[in-house]
Structures are given as C-alpha cells and as structure tokens.
Subunit: 161 residues, 2 copies
Amino acid sequence: MADNNFSLNSVEVQQPPLERFAQFLQSRGKRVTKQRRIIVEQVFSHHDHFDADELMAHLREAIERREVSRPTVYRTLSELTEAGLIRKMTLAGRSVYEHAYGYPRHDHLHCQVCNTLIEFQCEELDRISQTVARQHDFQISSHRMFVTGICANCRKAQKLG
Amino acid sequence: MADNNFSLNSVEVQQPPLERFAQFLQSRGKRVTKQRRIIVEQVFSHHDHFDADELMAHLREAIERREVSRPTVYRTLSELTEAGLIRKMTLAGRSVYEHAYGYPRHDHLHCQVCNTLIEFQCEELDRISQTVARQHDFQISSHRMFVTGICANCRKAQKLG
DNA sequence: CTACTTGCAAATCATTTGCAGATGA
DNA sequence: TCATCTGCAAATGATTTGCAAGTAG
C-alpha cells in the first residue's frame, strides 16, 4: 500500500495519470516512450475492469500500425501496477486490472454467469482485516474480498429462459 | 455452496471422504477407479493447502509406477472440486486447493514473502456479504477474503537479515 | 460387454523472454 | 551518445485434449 503521493485529498486536483506515470518512470531511470503514452491514455480513457486482451482490442489500430505490440502491453501493465496506478487481480486464472490512481478503494461482487464485477465499499472490512492481522501478528499490506454469485440481470434472464 | 449432505452437525460422525466421493461419482454415472482412490486418499491424508505439483510430488511413487498420471491428477482435482470435497483458489496465477469436506469455512491471511496461507474465521464476513448482496440485488453463492501482507516469521527473518 | 477411464503425446493459452535494431534523454 | 525500449519469434509453464488401449460395473 505504498502511497507515493504527498497528498490525495479528494478536494485537491490531481495530476493526470500520464504525468504521474512519467514521474514514476523517471524515478526508475526509465523513459517515456510513445507506446507507454498510448497505453496509459487508453487505460485511463474510461473507468472499467479489463484484461490484457481487452486492452489490446482497444489498441487494435495502434497494434495494426505496429506502434504497439503484445509484449509491450504486458510490460506496461506490469509497470503501471508497480507504479500503483492500476491494481491487478486474478479472475478465473486470468489477470484483470482496474484503476487504482484517483479511484477509491473498494471490493467486488463477481457474477459467475456474466463475469461482471460490481464494486462496493465497506469500511468494516478494513477494521476486520486489522483485527485479524493483530491476532496473528501479521503485517497487512492490503486485503481483497470477493463475493461470488449471480447478479440481478442474470437472475432475471434465467427466469425468463 | 451446494450442500449434498443431509446433516453436517459437527457432533455427528461423517463418512470418510472416499465414500463421499464414491457417492458423488455414482450420482454422475462415473466410476471408482484405482487412481481416483489413490488421489483422494493422498489429498485427505493431512490438512494442508496444495497445488497440483505439490500433490504430484506426494504421489511420486504412484506416478513412477505409472499408476497415476499428470492429466488424471488434474481431472480428479476438478471432480473433487465439483463434488465440493475440496475448494479451489487462485494464488499468484496458480491453482491452490484445500479441504472443504469436514472442515469449517474460513478465510486467509496470505504472506507474500513465504507464500504461506494462515486461516482465520470471521462470522462478520458472512453478514457483510449478505448486506452488500442485498443492496445490489445479488444472489450470493460464496465469498472469499484475502488479507495480504507479511507473516510474523518473515518479519522476524527480515529484521535479522 | 461396453461405456467410462487412463496414460501418452501433443495442443492450448496466457504470459514472458532473447535479441537485434530503434529511440528517448 | 548509449542505455533503455521495442517488435518479433520463440520459449515457458500450467493446464487441457485427442485418442487408442485398459478396466469397472
């Protein structure tokens, strides 16, 4: 849960993701390249959950133009995760990402029929993590809760079917 | 969360895993074979978290004797999961299993250094799942909570190092 | 008997890596 | 300049599948 920001008060303006990423890259002696720019812009163009393939589908044009390649997409997703701009989770064996930068902490309901993720916030989960961690002399870095089941839409569809 | 048992009161005796599995197999028109017996016996010989490779390591002799093969181990793990005898989770891209049959529901602390899973029980998590699910008109089948961080042992080791 | 199972070899599939040429600071 | 990057092709590693021979009921 490294917070490299001096301030994240929600009232304050926050630098755009690309700038934030540029800082991170610089701090590691890495470079701001055309492909990293393209990928970050795409990732933060809208809020959503996505995996590498879905991201590449959105980048199709750039990929066909040979401006971005599959390995670079994977490499950049790792860097963005390291930088704390996105968060990675594993869903059915596949890596799925979501925005972390500028987006509030939350957990998920996962519909096992349509595979959708529904976000929810619950302060209590933090409290519980802390209590349990204390009991086991465990140093928390983060927690993740998934509630699996069937969403309202899919239940409706099933009844109709 | 399908419960195929008529009763799971902890005071009552419970049939051995192999018998339970035999019932499941029969109900599906499947057969009790030597390899399924060997694998179930091994899986339930002690309580632990394990992945396919670790299980195969324990089955090394049978594998060398050509009594059990890698595909059969994978196939049987799937069946045991379907039968509800074991539970599957994904940890760092790898499938990890644990006993479900005859073992109380729990969640995990996951040490990111030594990769150990520490179990804990917390009724409140069920209550929270239910509340959240209700808010989103979501039908729960189960939940899973992971608290990631560093366990006491690894912290000690790090201080010494 | 004969449908279900198995081991084997080969296929998959997501993700990663080696490398020679390209490029940002 | 020159270390960092990139695309390409190929490697990886866990898991799965097709298939002919084996076996449970």
